[in-house]
C-alpha cells in the first residue's frame, strides 16, 4: 500500500530537501570540498542523532495535541542515572544503557498518567515534572563529570561506524523508521492521531483518549530516554548539563518538518529532514566561524520562513480555485444571457425525491 501524502505535505518535503542540497553545495564549495570529506561527514551525521531523537520525542506528544517540556530533563536523568549506576554501583554498562531507556519510558508514562488523572494541561504537568527531574539529575551527579571510560564498551558503540555511518545516527534513523511505521501500520499509532485530531470523535469510535495520552507521553519519554542513551554512549562523560539545551530545539525539527501543534498529524520524514537543515546551520557556523548566537537567529528565521511559506502556498491555492470557479461561473452567466428568461424555460418534471409539501399546510393566507 502506497503512502499517500497530502499535496502540501509533499511539497514541504521538497522544499526541505532542496534546502538541504543547496546548503550542502554551498558548504561544500566554500570549504573547498572539505565538507564532503570523511571526517567532516562523520561529524555531521554524528551530531544528528540527538536532534532527530528529541524531535521525534516532541513530535509524538504533538501528535496527540500535547507538549512535552520535560524531554531534556528526562534525557538528562536517563543518562545520569545510567552513568551513576555503571560508574558507582558497578552495573554492567549494557544494563546501564537499558536503564536509560527504562528511565525514559517510566518518566514518560508518569507524565501521561499525571495528565490523564489530574486533567491538568500537559504543558503545565511536564513543566512541573521537568523541574523535579532537573533536581533529580543534579542530585545524581552533583557537579562532577562521570567519564565514559567507565562504560567503555558502550562508549565504543558511540564511536562505532555501521555501513560507513556513525552507529548512533543509524540507531536514530532506525528509531525514526519504527516510529513512522507505528504511526502508519498500527492501530495504536492511528488512535493517537485520532485522539489528537478530535477527542470526541475518537471517543465515539471506541478509542480511549486516556490511553492515547499515556501511550504518547510514554513513547515520547522512551525516545527521550534513547536520546539520553545516545548521549551516554557518545559524550566523553556525563554531567549535570546533559539535556540542558534540548527544550526549545526539540520543537524546531517537528515544526519545520510540518507537524501541526493542534494534534492529529505527524511527519517523521519531515522531522528528520528538518534536523538535517538545523545541523547544516550548525556546520555553516563552524565553517564561517560565526558566533553560536547566529545559529539561533537562523533557526528562528527558518521556522518562520517554512511555516509562512506553507501558509502562502495554501492561500494561493484557494485563491486559484476561487478564480477558476469564477471563470466557469462567468462563462455560464454569459451563455445563459443569450437564452432569455431562464425561469420561463420549459418545465422539466420535478425530481422524484421532492419532499412532501408540508409547510404549505401551515401557511394560511
Amino acid at each position: 500500500m502506497k503512502l499517500k501524502l497530502p499535496a502540501t505535505m509533499g511539497s514541504q518535503y521538497l522544499v526541505l530537501i532542496a534546502t538541504i542540497i543547496l546548503g550542502a553545495i554551498i558548504l561544500g564549495v566554500s570549504s573547498g570540498g572539505n565538507f564532503f570529506g570523511p571526517v567532516s561527514m562523520q561529524t555531521f551525521f554524528q551530531f544528528l542523532a540527538v536532534p532527530i531523537l528529541i524531535g521525534l520525542a516532541q513530535m509524538i506528544t504533538l501528535a496527540v495535541g500535547q507538549l512535552n517540556l520535560a524531554i531534556g530533563a528526562i534525557g538528562g536523568v536517563a543518562a545520569c542515572l545510567a552513568a551513576v549506576m555503571v560508574a558507582d554501583w558497578g552495573l554492567n554498562p549494557w544494563l546501564g544503557a537499558l536503564v536509560a531507556l527504562l528511565v525514559g519510558a517510566v518518566a514518560g508514562i508518569a507524565n501521561g498518567i499525571l495528565v490523564v488523572v489530574t486533567k491538568i494541561n500537559g504543558f503545565i504537568v511536564t513543566l512541573a515534572t521537568m523541574t523535579v527531574l532537573l533536581g533529580v539529575q543534579y542530585a545524581l551527579v552533583n557537579t562532577r563529570t562521570i567519564s565514559s571510560d567507565n562504560w567503555a564498551p558502550v562508549a565504543a558503540l558511540g564511536k562505532a561506524r555501521w555501513l560507513g555511518l556513525p552507529a548512533i545516527f543509524v540507531i536514530a534513523i532506525i528509531v525514526a523508521v519504527l516510529v513512522g511505521l507505528a504511526f502508519r501500520y498500527t492501530t495504536t499509532g492511528r488512535h493517537l492521531l485520532a485522539s489528537g485530531d478530535n477527542e470526541h470523535a475518537a471517543t465515539l469510535a471506541g478509542i480511549s483518549n486516556d490511553r492515547s495520552l499515556t501511550v504518547a507521553h510514554g513513547a515520547s519519554g522512551l525516545i527521550a530516554g534513547f536520546a539520553g542513551f545516545v548521549s551516554f554512549a557518545s559524550l566523553p562523560g556525563v554531567n549535570q548539563s546533559v539535556g540542558g539545551d534540548w527544550l526549545l530545539s526539540s520543537f524546531a525539527a517537528p515544526i519545520i518538518g510540518g507537524v501541526s501543534l493542534t494534534g492529529g498529524t505527524v511527519a517523521v520524514f519531515g522531522t528528520v529532514l528538518a534536523a538535517f537543515v538545523v545541523r547544516l546551520v550548525d556546520s555553516a557556523r563552524a565553517e564561517f566561524q560565526l558566533a553560536p548566537a547566529w545559529v539561533n537567529l537562523v533557526i528562528g528565521a527558518v521556522i518562520l520562513g517554512t511555516v509562512a511559506l506553507g501558509r502562502l502556498r495554501e492561500s494561493r491555492e484557494s485563491a486559484k480555485a476561487g478564480m477558476l470557479r469564477a471563470r466557469v461561473a462567468n462563462h455560464r452567466v454569459n451563455t445563459a444571457a443569450l437564452q432569455p428568461a431562464a425561469a420561463a424555460a420549459p418545465a422539466g418534471p420535478p425530481p422524484s425525491s421532492e419532499p412532501a409539501p408540508s409547510a404549505s399546510e401551515e401557511v394560511k393566507q
Binding site: I124, L127, G135, A293, R311
Partner: protein, 375 residues
C-alpha cells in the same frame, strides 16, 4: 487587585452571595495557601520576616514576576502563547540600556525607549500571527530563537563587557530603593517595602481595569473565547491580536527593565528565567490556556505562591536539587488540589432560578462553567 465592582446599588444587594462566591474561587484558595505558608515559615523561622533581606527582596521579585505573569496572561487571554516573553524582555531592556549607556538619556526617556521597543517587537510578532494565521506558539518560538541570537550579538558589538552599566538618576531608587528612602518630616517608611511595588501596582490596576471595565478588554476576551465568532461579531480581531502582543511585549520589556534596575545592569541574560514562570502564575491563578478567561488577581497570587515556596525552601537551606524537586512536586500537588476542588464543586449544578450577577465582572472571575454553580 482587579476587584472592580459592579454598579454600587447592585453591589450591596449582592454582598452576601458575593462573599460566598469569593470563598469558592481559585483566588481565595491560593490566598489561603499563601497565608498558611507564611504562617508556617514564620513559626519555624521567626527571623524570616527580616524586612530588608527577606521581605523586600521577595516583594521585589513578586513585583517583577507579576508583570511577567501579566505579560503572558494577556496573550493567554486571546487563547495564544508567548514563548518569547523572556527574549522580549531582554530585547526591550537592551534598548533602555543603550539609551542610558550609549546616548546618556535620562531615566524616564530610557524607560520609554525600552517599552516602545518591547511593544514594537511584540506588535511585530502579533502582526505575523494575525497575517499568516500561523500558531502563536510557533511564531513566538521562532521569535525567541531569533532574539536569542540577536540580543547577545548586539550587546557584544556595542559594549566590551557585554553589559550596559550606566545608572542614570532614579534607576537605583526604583530598582533597589525601599520606603526607607522615602522620608517625610524626619520619619521614613518601612525597609520591607520596595519602591518598585508602586509602579507595579499601578500597572496591575491598569491591566485589571482594562479587562474588567473597558470595551477593549471585553473585545480581547471574546477574541480569545472564539476568534471566528468574534470577527463575525464585528470585533477587529487582527487589530486586537496585534495590540495584545504589543502590550505583552511592552510588559515583558517593563519586567526586564525592572529586573535590570534591581540587579544593577543591563545584560543579555535578562529574562532567561521568565518563560516558564510566566505560565505558572496565570495558570495557578485560574487563567485558561484556551483563552477567554483571565484573572489578574489570580496571576498575582500564583506568582506570589511560587516565589514564596522558593524563598521558603531557601530559608530552610534546601540545596539546588531539593529545591527543584520540592518546587515541582508542590506545584503538581497545588494544581491537582485545585483541580479536584473545582471538579468536585461543579458536580451539583442546579440551575438557579434567578442567580445574581457575579461579584467581579466575568473577565476577572471564576472559570466559565461555574458561574451558574456558585451563584
Amino acid at each position: 487587585m482587579s476587584h472592580a465592582t459592579t454598579p454600587a446599588g447592585d453591589a450591596r444587594r449582592r454582598q452576601g452571595t458575593d462573599f460566598k462566591r469569593y470563598l469558592t474561587s481559585p483566588q481565595f484558595f491560593l490566598a489561603l495557601i499563601i497565608l498558611v505558608l507564611v504562617g508556617l515559615i514564620g513559626a519555624a523561622k521567626p527571623n524570616a520576616f527580616n524586612g530588608a533581606f527577606v521581605v523586600a527582596p521577595l516583594l521585589t521579585s513578586i513585583a517583577i514576576f507579576t508583570i511577567v505573569g501579566l505579560s503572558q496572561m494577556m496573550v493567554l487571554s486571546i487563547g495564544q502563547m508567548n514563548i518569547a516573553v523572556g527574549n522580549m524582555a531582554a530585547f526591550g531592556a537592551m534598548f533602555t540600556g543603550m539609551a542610558f549607556d550609549l546616548w546618556n538619556m535620562p531615566f524616564i526617556v530610557g524607560l520609554i525607549a525600552g517599552l516602545v521597543a518591547g511593544a514594537a517587537i511584540g506588535g511585530l510578532t502579533g502582526w505575523i500571527i494575525a497575517k499568516t494565521g500561523v500558531n502563536s506558539f510557533i511564531v513566538t518560538l521562532a521569535m525567541s530563537f531569533a532574539l536569542l541570537g540577536l540580543v547577545p550579538t548586539v550587546y557584544s558589538m556595542l559594549s566590551p563587557g557585554s553589559a550596559f552599566t550606566a545608572k542614570p538618576e532614579g534607576m537605583e531608587f526604583l530598582g533597589r530603593g525601599t520606603f526607607l528612602d522615602v522620608c517625610m518630616v524626619g520619619y521614613c517608611g518601612p525597609a520591607a517595602i520596595p519602591v518598585m511595588v508602586v509602579p507595579v501596582l499601578l500597572v496591575v490596576l491598569l491591566v485589571g481595569g482594562l479587562y474588567a471595565r473597558t470595551k477593549l478588554g471585553r473585545e480581547i476576551l471574546l477574541t480569545g473565547a472564539n476568534i471566528k465568532a468574534a470577527e463575525l461579531s464585528a470585533i477587529p480581531t487582527n487589530k486586537r491580536v496585534v495590540l495584545v502582543h504589543a502590550l505583552s511585549g511592552a510588559l515583558a520589556s517593563l519586567a526586564g527593565i525592572l529586573l535590570a534596575t534591581s540587579t544593577g545592569s543591563f545584560t543579555p541574560a535578562i529574562g532567561n528565567e521568565f518563560m516558564l514562570q510566566s505560565f505558572l502564575g496565570p495558570i495557578l491563578g485560574g487563567t485558561l490556556l484556551a483563552g477567554g478567561y483571565i484573572s489578574v488577581t489570580g496571576t498575582f497570587l500564583g506568582i506570589t505562591l511560587t516565589l514564596l515556596i522558593r524563598r521558603g525552601l531557601e530559608l530552610f537551606g534546601a540545596g539546588v536539587e531539593m529545591l527543584n524537586i520540592f518546587l515541582g512536586l508542590i506545584l503538581l500537588v497545588a494544581l491537582s488540589a485545585e483541580r479536584i476542588r473545582t471538579v468536585r464543586r461543579r458536580k451539583p449544578t442546579p440551575t438557579p432560578p434567578d442567580g445574581p450577577p457575579p461579584a467581579e465582572p466575568a473577565a476577572a472571575e471564576p472559570a466559565p462553567a461555574e458561574s451558574g454553580a456558585t451563584a
